[in-house]
Amino acid sequence: MKYLYLFSIVFLFGACKSTQIWNASQVPVYSKFDSYSPKLVLENDSIHVINFWATWCKPCVAELPYFEESLSSLQKEKIKFTYVSLDFEKNLRSKVIPFLNTSKIKADVVLLSDGKYNDWIDKVDPSWSGSIPATLITLGEKNIFFEGSFHSEQEIIDLIHKIKI
């Protein structure tokens, strides 16, 4: 019986460790795009995959599992994934965090609450009309922008590979 307790504790601990439990302090909130923009490009030849999404955006939520799969497949490369939520800040605890937990999201997540969209959308990419989902991939001075949905892990990986050419 004692061993069973011990086993249960070890098992529970292990289960907790394998899945991150999200809380609000793990999602930095940026009220100004210009405060976040320096983080779009990483140092040390690392690729940064930035996905703009929101919990209310169905096609965004539908494609996030493909990003998570790509993240797992590419984890040995110098690459980072960040999901930039455009949800309202007041919905961080009520909607964003519960979503991250139920979806077991592993990538980094930030919340960008800058509502002066016209001032910053062009800074992400001049071709962006403002619809989400939208994805920006950066590597040093190079970047690729895609407005629209991905329908498989492979589509994302293919686009990531293009930036290395």
Binding site: G115, N118, I121, I144, G148
Partner: protein, 198 residues
């Protein structure tokens, strides 16, 4: 030779990348085509029906996008202010209800009644009008003058989330400019919206 091939490859991939997503639709200065779309009351609506119009506020919008919903009351206000001045508003739902059941024709009728829309709320059922205009999201505004020349494309104002914090009422200002024979400035703006469901 290897180097030449490599640079050729880089050049070609660059060209391929830049041409994968060509910019379609109208720009400011283009003449917009008329349409004939079914309104929630069952009648067909075209711009040519409005003989005395000085222009049109065309808004691609829908029932389900939170960003579009936030603007419903402001659309009502815009129409109330500018229809009498010759700039009626026409709302166009471009979404495919098979993907978004909440954007069905019946749902449009319900929503318009709830919100007291005094303007036509028409359905781009064949999804041919929004690609011709180049609309990509809801809400997405095209302001036309009396010759149906596109004079402004973009957002309704600069504060989607809070109507009380609007600093620049883009569409209203653009109409004021047209009324006095000036060009809207800015003539295009951007905002976050929901991608149109095709």
């Amino acid at each position: 030779m290897k180097k030449t091939l490599l640079s050729l490859f880089i050049l070609t991939s660059g060209i391929l990348l830049s041409f994968t997503f060509p910019h379609k639709g109208y720009h400011v200065g283009d003449k917009a085509a008329d349409f004939s779309l079914k309104n929630i009351d069952g009648s067909m609506v075209s711009m040519e029906d409005y003989k005395d119009a000085n222009g049109f506020i065309l808004v691609f919008t829908c029932n389900t996008c939170p960003w579009a919903v936030m603007y419903e009351d402001r659309l009502v206000e815009l129409h109330k202010t500018y229809a009498d001045q010759g700039y009626p508003l026409i709302a166009i739902n471009p979404n495919n209800p098979e993907i978004k059941p909440g954007d069905s024709f019946e749902a449009m009728q319900v929503r318009a009644k709830e919100k007291g829309f005094q303007f036509p709320y028409v359905f781009d059922e064949k999804q041919t009008v929004y690609p011709e205009y180049g609309a990509t999201k809801t809400p997405h505004v095209y302001l036309l003058d009396k010759d149906r020349i596109v004079q402004y494309i973009g957002a309704i104002d600069d504060s989607p989330r809070d109507a009380s914090k609007v600093e620049n009422a883009y569409v209203a200002k653009a109409i004021e400019a047209l009324k006095t024979g000036r060009k809207p400035d800015p003539s295009s703006t951007k905002a976050i919206g929901c991608s149109i469901k095709a």
